[in-house]
Symmetry: C2
């Protein structure tokens, strides 16, 4: 696996049960996943020679993030390395412009969009929409970085994104009632499974809370969301997990926001809440093993991200939250605490949604130092 | 953790979520747990200098097995190393003679027993019992090794155990209806949790199948079994998991067979079948964190061990079992396949015991190469 973040850490955790020999290319000797795997390789994933040496002898190569240059991945594939998802698919997770073109070609509902590089193009598109605009860099943004929400697309407002000098994508600012996520896994021979559609709540552009399944979601929309994800997995020939972030609009439509071709924050609930976690199914998919059941194990599962607070030592918060709720599931990523940094997540499950929500929210807030009690 | 078998492997897997930095002393560079942890240390756990170097800087030291000499552990404790469970407790898992003396002193029901070294003593105890006899080495036996079942304690029959030249323990051969196991975890400040009493089926002296909870167990006996385990954990001052293997007799009694002070084969079901697994609770106990709920997540959970068959490559068996049952949970230990060797386990759960049993038994038999279909 290329990339040593928490996704690789939790993928390795799942791979232990499958008997997988996990080789990691990490950004540094002590990043999240490097702490818990045997013999992590430290190197630069943008360097082709590093990638060549690292992938030599791997049965399959997969990713913790979508930032490996696809040109390098094509070279590896031509040299006989098995890359899953392959660069022909991964490019649609890397480049939002290509993604919008392809999805629109497939008839998948998206917000109205326009590629742009100049201030004139952005201002013109803003006028055309007659409402607020979202501007993104076509490549490289994530967790709220490389994204600008403009109330009004004036020349002054578009200055900052245009100043990046990189290709941009402008999109209508959808007036949505909530965000949903559709998570599927697909194997090389085309078997696919779909997890239930979940509701995700973002805070400052970062996934904050996920409720599985999405409360009060119309069955028609749940089916449509799963079909969109399964269609995309097939049409883009994705192997592994695909997460499709969606907007549910006030007029009862769903629109695709973003794609990720790897285990995703909106699927962390599945470790404790589903028969087979997204991490295990990602491995089973890329290893061409039969996929595991995505069935939920409780009526409701809630995941809340734990962000770093100002206190560097979480030991007492850990004691408090575990003692308060013996059924709480805590997942820490081994990261140094920095304010606002994703350092873990908590999961709760049960049959009473209010209770499940309260427990997860309290624990995450307490671990983040937001509660004094 | 000292010892690099599958118990350490699964303990590390649980520790990843807790953010634990796991240091391993392994018997070899590629044993089960050494494959999946960062920087395993290879060394001899019977060598005091090795233990000294390995434990330097550890917050707490715990075990994958009970074979570390307690004399060494006392030296480490005197040097300020935190050892959990401590040697004063561990000795009762190492020495069956001391264990029987202590349990009898505490009024815990045991089979009738006698320490012995000579043929004369064994033959005399056999006559006194007037029935079959079980002879064990007081130290060092496990998984059926170091145990002799003698139908009749003749001088000829006792020859083999006496020839070992080590101290022996003779016990009445209990006519039991089944074997049970009581699993508890206890932390340094005395908090304890008890898992439900399970039924375990042995085959050739090795744990073969575990049903959680034990079907049709009288509530009176379930409570008594949990109380025995909780009493022992407290009275022997055990920190971590304690497994008490029990006989249920035909006249409605339970008797203690063996003790283990570590995660135990009869608790593997808890990974998929309980809110908190035995591995996580062992870590939470030895790290003095509040313990997690031992509540079951399904009416029935069944675990069956996978033993090595004659085919060295399990890949196709793996494909078959995963495709046949998408809810099957497979846990492999990364061990080379050798006939009769524990190489993994499978777990199933659900509300219909017959169905759950059939699925787990089929998968384990298929993975062991016992089924041609």
């Amino acid at each position: 696996m290329i990339g040593g973040g928490q996704l690789a850490r939790m993928t390795h955790q799942a791979g232990i049960a499958l008997g997988v020999r996990f080789r990691l290319l990490a950004e540094g000797p002590d990043v999240s996943a490097a702490q818990v795997v045997r013999d992590p390789v430290v190197g630069d994933y943008t360097d082709l020679d590093t990638l060549r040496r690292f992938t030599d002898g791997c049965d399959v190569v997969t990713f913790d993030h979508e930032h490996v240059p696809t040109a390098h991945l094509h070279v590896l594939e031509e040299a006989g390395v098995t890359v899953r998802p392959g660069p022909h698919a991964l490019v649609f997770a890397q480049d939002k412009g290509l993604m919008r073109e392809r999805l629109t070609g497939l008839g998948i509902p998206c917000p109205r969009w326009r590629k742009a590089t100049t201030a004139e193009e952005l201002v013109a598109f803003g006028k055309e929409l007659g409402g607020p605009l979202v501007v993104k860099t076509q490549r490289g943004g994530y967790d709220g970085k490389g994204v600008w929400v403009l109330g009004d697309a004036t020349y002054e407002a578009v200055e900052e994104p245009v100043a990046t000098g990189v290709p941009l994508l402008a999109e209508e600012h959808v007036s949505y009632v909530r965000e949903l996520s559709a998570l599927v896994a697909r194997s090389p021979h085309g078997q696919a499974i779909a997890y239930p559609i979940v509701e995700s709540v973002q805070r400052d552009g970062i996934c904050h809370e996920v409720i599985s399944p999405a409360p009060n979601l119309e069955p028609r929309l749940a089916t449509e969301a799963q079909e969109i994800a399964l269609t995309l997995a097939k049409e883009l020939d994705i192997v592994g997990v695909l997460a499709v972030e969606l907007f549910e609009t006030s007029d009862g439509r769903i629109l695709v926001n973003e794609l990720a071709m790897r285990p995703h924050n909106t699927g962390h609930w599945s470790i404790d809440g589903a028969v087979t976690s997204q991490f295990e199914n990602h491995l089973r998919a890329v290893l061409d093993l039969p996929l595991g059941s995505p069935r939920t194990r409780a009526p409701w599962t809630v995941m809340v991200n734990v962000l770093g607070g100002t206190a560097p030592n979480m030991h007492y918060a850990f004691l408090h939250t575990q003692a308060r709720d013996p059924e709480l599931r805590i997942h820490l990523y081994g990261k140094e605490v920095r304010p606002g940094r994703k350092i873990g997540h908590v999961t709760t499950y049960g049959s009473d949604l209010e209770n499940v929500l309260e427990r997860a929210r309290h624990a995450a807030a307490y671990l983040a130092g937001e509660i004094d009690e």
